[in-house]
């Protein structure tokens, strides 16, 4: 019984207590001790999250080492990983303001990151060619609004067909905002619903808890 308490019940209870602390603090004026506790708790989350990232990196490195030692297919790429990892980690652990560490970040990580981010332009274009076909009414709405707005936003678009600007602006300000408004209101209700399910202990998958559900009586 006690094992169930510490393994299952207590984590769920703690989840609810922390959550309710955050919510009441938002609505009611609180004594300074509680606000201070809440601030400390939130900084704990950041520390735990940082620790988890370190753990993840270590496990990833172990996976690469194992790939090399067991000579899995394409193991040689892992050597590149290890060299890059070791160099950056050693430089960075000595100091995060180390010049070479920052140089590597600014001249290798940022350009690759920017290049990968910009890949979206290519995929957006090829996806548009493949899926933007007026197969039915729904697809046609997506296609036409997307077409008008892009045309409005590129400098030459308004020069080719000036009315596109007022039309595009209207679509952007009214039908589009209205659609997103419904979606956002729905999402906020979804968040509250999820919170209630978690805090009442009905939903506990995220804790890694699996229980064969007994039928509710």
């Amino acid at each position: 019984m006690s094992s169930r308490l510490v393994k299952i019940s207590l984590p769920i209870w703690l989840t609810s207590i922390f959550g309710v602390l955050m919510i009441i603090e938002f609505f009611f004026p609180m004594p300074a001790e509680i606000t201070a506790t809440n601030t400390t708790l939130r900084s704990f989350v950041l520390i735990v999250s940082a620790a988890a990232l370190i753990l993840g990196t270590v496990i990833l490195t172990i996976a690469h080492v194992r790939r090399i030692s067991t000579r899995k297919p394409e193991w040689y790429y892992s050597i590149i990983y290890l060299i890059a990892f070791a160099t950056t980690a050693v430089l960075g652990l000595s100091s995060v303001r180390e010049t070479n560490f920052l140089w590597i970040y600014n001249n290798m990580t940022s350009p690759i990151g920017a290049a990968l981010y910009s890949l979206t332009a290519f995929y957006i274009t090829s996806a548009a060619y493949r899926v933007f076909r007026a197969r039915n009414w729904n697809a046609a709405v997506l296609l036409i609004t997307g077409f008008i707005v892009l045309m409005m936003l590129i400098p030459v678009g308004a020069a080719i067909f000036p009315p596109v600007v007022p039309i595009g602006e209207w679509i952007r300000s009214f039908p589009s905002s209205a659609g997103f408004r419904g979606m956002i209101i729905g999402t906020s209700l979804g968040t509250v619903g999820l919170g209630v399910r978690i805090y009442t202990g009905r939903q506990k998958e995220h804790l890694g808890i699996r229980e064969e559900r007994k039928e509710v009586s």
Binding site: A121, F122, I124, T125, S126, A128, Y129, R130, F132, R133, A134, R135, L143, G146, F147, L150, M151, L153, I154, P155, V156, G157, A158, A159, I160, P162, V165
Partner: protein, 279 residues
Amino acid sequence: MSIVKKILDLDQRVIYLILFVLLAYPILNPVILPMAIQDYSKQAFNFADSIPDGSVVLIEGGNSAATHPQCGPGLTANIYHLLTKNCKLVFFSIGAEQAFWTNREIQDAINKLPAGVPAENGVNWVHLGYISGGESGVAALAANIRSAISKDYYGTLIDDLPLMKDINDAKAFSAVFWWGGSEGSIPYGVRQLVGPYNLPMSGSCTTNEVPNYSPYISSGQMKGIFGGVRGSAEYEYLLRVPGPALGQAMATNFGGLFWLVLVVVGNVLYFIQRGRGEK
């Protein structure tokens, strides 16, 4: 398999390659397509154009490394524009990094100037450099330049600069250009220069900040504004001096047009295929 189907099932890598070429080409050789000018840019350009030849103009250079690629070409075009009108320019920045980039933009403009246009430091233009103190620094500069700063960006004493001989406060200027970049400093200019001294002002900021300042334009406190890279490109276009911003805007054009053409072609072929009853 019919040709229509073949084009409809075009390998995505062909699309990527074409897009690459279309985006890179205008950067290397600006191809000028017609462009629709936004109202704010047109107003700002007309304001700059209406400044009488030979006036003394105050310019705040607020572009940093992050905003130089977008707004720097616009300031360069602005300097080019005013120098060709034989205006006398006084620059300052409210950040140390910004002072460096302003200097770079001044040099860019001077390198572009057609032969015969005078652009001598100290005579046609002065770069006062970094003025500390943010908004209060601007106020101090407006009230008395010599109390706010004694040497210019290059370390020359202000009193040794011929252009500064008769200039001692904001009353000496006939216009202000506030190239705020992402500093969010345009209100400083409105509050410290436009309000107390009744100077007409225009300027630039990043695209996302334009809506914040549109109230100033509708109230007349600002004469117009250039937003981001598109604003810079429009300045270059209106001035008929192609520069890096125009190249980038044209590349966006090419990318966008390619997207639009692909969608149109895709749909036309799709309906042809459907009309033929092919699957």
